[in-house]
């Protein structure tokens, strides 16, 4: 952290000022002047928090995507299908077990296994042929999408939120005053708070594994220079398997989470694939920190855009991506390759 601050003092200052400004906006009661520009405080703060939690979901999906790309140069365009498959499986498991939490580890294992299978049986056979791998993933996504339509049909599925997470929580943030002059506190869905916490925990866990363990060291070395790692006698296939399985499992878990606070239906696979693409392009390919930053930015832009400029809100994320590409093609956090 201090390194970054020393290297980019101006940017650090700007980011800190922005964060402080936001914090002030959240905590202070709004004057009519601010309300004129930004509308009611409740709307703004809700959009902000909604963006944070949406970003958390995007991070869960995109982090596996970015790891797989970073290490294996495999743009897994079937990643969205793994997300949707995880969600459907999670629906089945949580219904059978009667408990939402059971779905998470089971889905992680099931989809992770599918990932292992794909890496071992399919992608290993065409290593180094990036374009061909991508084509195969496109084919897989078409086939998987139609098979899921076959099995689960066209209707929507939502996973049942556990009782202790349903409904809103009251946050200690004043968003206005009611007619009697008493402060009105902000109410925010508990399930979204839980998702945010989960994403932060998983993100920290991944950071720790990557930076503090031998496996993490191998992965980082592989991302930086795969040939060198192979040459030094490491059985890189095992590292590949681990990363692909983990990335796929994470996509499946994200499907469970997404199926809980949004819903699952045909077409969601493409949507989350696109979201992952944009997130990792903005953040920087192959970097977990980049995925986190990208997910945060995209989530916020989507939500704030939807509130303040609904018509073109779906276009904004792609514009941001184009801007990043134009001025920093390697992504906000990423090394030029």
């Amino acid at each position: 952290m201090t390194d970054v601050a020393r290297r980019y003092p101006v940017w650090t200052l700007i980011v800190l000022l922005l964060a402080a400004g936001l914090l002030w906006l959240i905590l202070t009661p709004w004057t009519p002047g601010i309300e004129q520009v930004l509308g009611r405080k409740r709307v703004f703060v809700n959009a902000l928090f909604g963006g944070l939690t949406l970003g958390a979901l995007y991070f869960l999906v995109a982090s596996g995507f970015t790891l797989i790309f970073g290490l294996m140069r495999n743009v897994n365009l079937a990643h969205g299908s793994l997300y949707l498959l995880g969600g459907y499986l999670g629906y089945g498991v949580s219904n059978a077990a009667g408990e939402w939490l059971v779905a998470v580890p089971v889905v992680f294992l099931l989809v992770g296994l599918l990932g292992l299978l794909l890496q071992h049986q399919v992608f290993r056979r065409m290593e180094g042929e990036e374009l061909r791998q991508t084509m195969v993933t496109i084919g897989l996504s078409v086939v998987l999408a139609d098979m899921m339509l076959w099995i689960w049909g066209g209707q929507s599925y939502t996973l049942q939120t556990p009782d202790w997470l349903s409904g809103p929580a009251t946050l200690p943030i004043v968003v206005g005053v009611d007619r009697n002059g008493a402060p009105v506190y902000m109410r925010f869905p508990q399930v979204r708070i839980a998702i945010l916490v989960t994403a932060v925990v998983i993100g920290l866990g991944m950071w720790l594994v990557l930076n503090r363990t031998r496996l993490g060291m191998l992965v980082r070395a592989g991302v930086d220079d795969r040939e060198m790692l192979t040459a030094s006698g490491i059985r890189i296939q095992y590292v590949f398997l681990a990363v692909f399985g983990f990335g796929a499992g994470l996509a499946g878990v994200a499907g469970v989470v997404g199926g809980t606070f949004q819903s699952l239906a045909p077409g969601e696979d493409t949507r989350f694939l696109l979201a992952s693409l944009v997130v990792v392009i903005v953040g920087g390919m192959g970097s977990i920190t980049g995925a986190a930053l990208g997910a945060l930015i995209i989530g916020l832009v989507e939500q704030i855009g939807l509130v303040y400029a609904p018509t073109y809100s779906v276009v904004f994320t792609f514009l941001i991506m184009a801007l990043v590409l134009a001025f920093r093609p390697q992504g906000l956090i990423g090394n030029r390759r």
């Binding site: 140069r73 374009l131 195969v136 139609d146 018509t311 276009v315 991506m321």
Partner: protein, 363 residues
Amino acid sequence: MALTDKSRDQRAGTPSGSASWPDLVMSIPAGWWATGCILLIMPALASDFWLFQVFGWSFCLGIIALSLMFLAGYGGMVSLIQMTVAALAGYMVAILGTSGVQQISLGLPWWLYLPLAILIAAAFATAVGALAVRTEGIYTIMITLAIASAFFYFTRQNYEIFNGYSGFNLVVPPRVLGIDWRQPTAFYYLALVFAALCFLAVVYVARSPFGLALQGIRDNPRRMAAMGFNVVAHRIAAYGFAGVIAAIGGILLVWQNTQVAAFTAGIGAVIDILIIAVIGGLRRPIGPFVGAFIYVLLGTFSPDVLSAFGLSNERFKLLIGLGFLAMVFFSPDGALGLWDRWREARRRPVDPLTGQARPGSVP
């Protein structure tokens, strides 16, 4: 894979720009002449449905996929923007020309709106190219896919210019020379002529100094830069040229459909163009047309085939997906690759190492 393979393209890539016309005509293999003749007399053989729906559509998609083949095969840049460029040209035809949405369409004469549409689409392609060439290889796919998505969402939301979700209906070709170009036979020849022109243009450009430099850049950009070639400019120019081809295909496609809407360049359609080019083969300009024909046949008749086998005809995407998977899995060079390998196997029944006949090499 094939894109970075340096020792290929003996046929298309050989520098033969100096050959005189009679030589060129003589060098065309007999198979080409036969195919050309069959295509020319096709209206006497096939029904209107086949002329218009199967061949007409194949030519349109083939031209658009050809522009991708040019970028990918000769430039090493796999761009998913080609369908978007094509749709933009179609939109321009609808907006500048005539359509069912009279409050938007300007109703310019055809000799004005056609060049304008191609120009605007090519300019867009060049701009996207300028952005995309800042990245390489697999990144290009993602960036162009993202820009294509942005275009799709923008056109779906914008009602002032692009008429949003509904798009434009009743976009028909102008009556030129007193011919109704939407009649099956007329449209067939129109599409055939433009497909042939685009094909020849790509073959010609690939052998021109520009095309050769582009192929050099594909194989080793650093060396070409050291030799004084402007790598970035060559690549952007390739996007521009491919944009013109895609625009022609897009205009024909819109005339064939009589309509253009956001979904014309939706994410599925964008990926379909890649699928077509890959199924046909990215090595030679004829590949995209072969791929388009296979795709159109599958798309048109797989419901019939499936229901003949007692399967629900909802499953035709599965068939296309599995076919595509099998193709990339077993023959990375597409259908043409299969054909080449088969010919190769027939031509050389003798093992090059031992000089003896190989067992089982003749199929």
